[in-house]
Symmetry: C2
Subunit: 276 residues, 2 copies
Amino acid sequence: MVFVLYGNIMATHTRLVYICAQEMGLVGTPAFELRNVDWSEILYPKDGFDYDKSPFKRIPWFEDTENGVRLFESRAIVKYMAMKINSPPIPRYDDPVDVANFEVACSLELGDFTTYTKMLLYELVHGSMAHQKPTDEHLAKSYRETLTRNFEGYERILSKQRYLAGDKLSVVDLFHIPSALWLAMVGGIPALGEGTLPFTKSDGSDGTLPIPKSADRTWPLPQTADGTLPFPHLREWWNSLMELESVRKVNGQFIEIMQNMRGPHRAEGHGEEEAK
Amino acid sequence: MVFVLYGNIMATHTRLVYICAQEMGLVGTPAFELRNVDWSEILYPKDGFDYDKSPFKRIPWFEDTENGVRLFESRAIVKYMAMKINSPPIPRYDDPVDVANFEVACSLELGDFTTYTKMLLYELVHGSMAHQKPTDEHLAKSYRETLTRNFEGYERILSKQRYLAGDKLSVVDLFHIPSALWLAMVGGIPALGEGTLPFTKSDGSDGTLPIPKSADRTWPLPQTADGTLPFPHLREWWNSLMELESVRKVNGQFIEIMQNMRGPHRAEGHGEEEAK
């Protein structure tokens, strides 16, 4: 055993690492293990929470058992694993230009995309489902407006190159998926999806995820006048990510767990406790 | 000439790069030039804006004239310059552990700190001063609560190590400064400053920046019951950054320009146009 990820596949940022680990070929090998952290360990720790594991009390956290290195912050964990196994979807760290283009994309992903998909997701789904806090429409409106503005920048970039850091897939593309997939499923980002996500169950039958009631009235991002969806290149990029085998596998697992839960959103969405 | 930074020292993220360039010893050498971009070029471009320079229409953008590399996103520009001149305040890119600790800090800075200082700054200062938009108290409250929560994580980390990525100063510490300094000056973050910033003018006399009226009523983050300021380690870290010669120089320049302007906030704060 080398890499141990402590988290919960229902949590957005555990999934962020897990998707990347899957894409890097680590999942299913002895070099990687996902060790489940129960929500109660985070929310109601019996003996107090050990902040040495995660100073922000968030999952996932991580240990490399080979050298005892401990990390928190999902994106840093991914970059560490990728550097250590010399995996392709990170930049060549001996090339400042390659690193810089990757870093541009990393800034956009965290600062202009996921920050807002996460906050919007909290308002549309997690807050109401997990904490009985009604959607704050004022905040949701603000996040949605910012996202729409930022999608314009994404569209400009993705109309010229296939992926966000250039013409090659990198982990930064995958970083966008977990929170945005959730949002797309509930109809929070029409540019990325129509609001129900079809998926294949492990028994081979078709499944779809219904739209939670709370999201119904918070649906639309602007559409073009003729009803077509805006941001065609962003959409094409998104669809290409959704078709990756690694992404299909992890998303399928996640959706299936959710479909099988009594209240579909109870375990996800402990707000600030399960973050980056 | 090698590195050309296109921006405006009044803009938060131009200053982010400029402070780092100063710390790396680049400012004042032939290897670095700050070329001023007038706000009108961004806001009212006569022949339309050239999005190839900056797909999000933000300053700064950047060119390395030696090899023609063009970049946008301030943090990526800093990392590129530092890698190319092999400057100390970045990690050793051949060491996954050093990179990982740095990346943890980078995620915190962008995702948990500057995102919120910037949005709060916009509500308290830039929106009202530059766009005649009154402070949205609802948004400001939400950002302030998140910042306070995140400062708790910072405090835990900085009680164990001197800087955010370890015991050595790195550029990620400097990334925190521009938006937080502004906020501290207007009293938006009592944990980091009391609301007026004393500084030394270039003629050697003392100066202070007054608190803009619009910020008066949006002052407090929580204080402890005895009136002392919370987050002692965060505060110590912040003060140590403020004492760096590079930071004093750039901040002094910035404050002096502001003091000499008729309306002290007119040129800063074109909201989304001058961002990361």
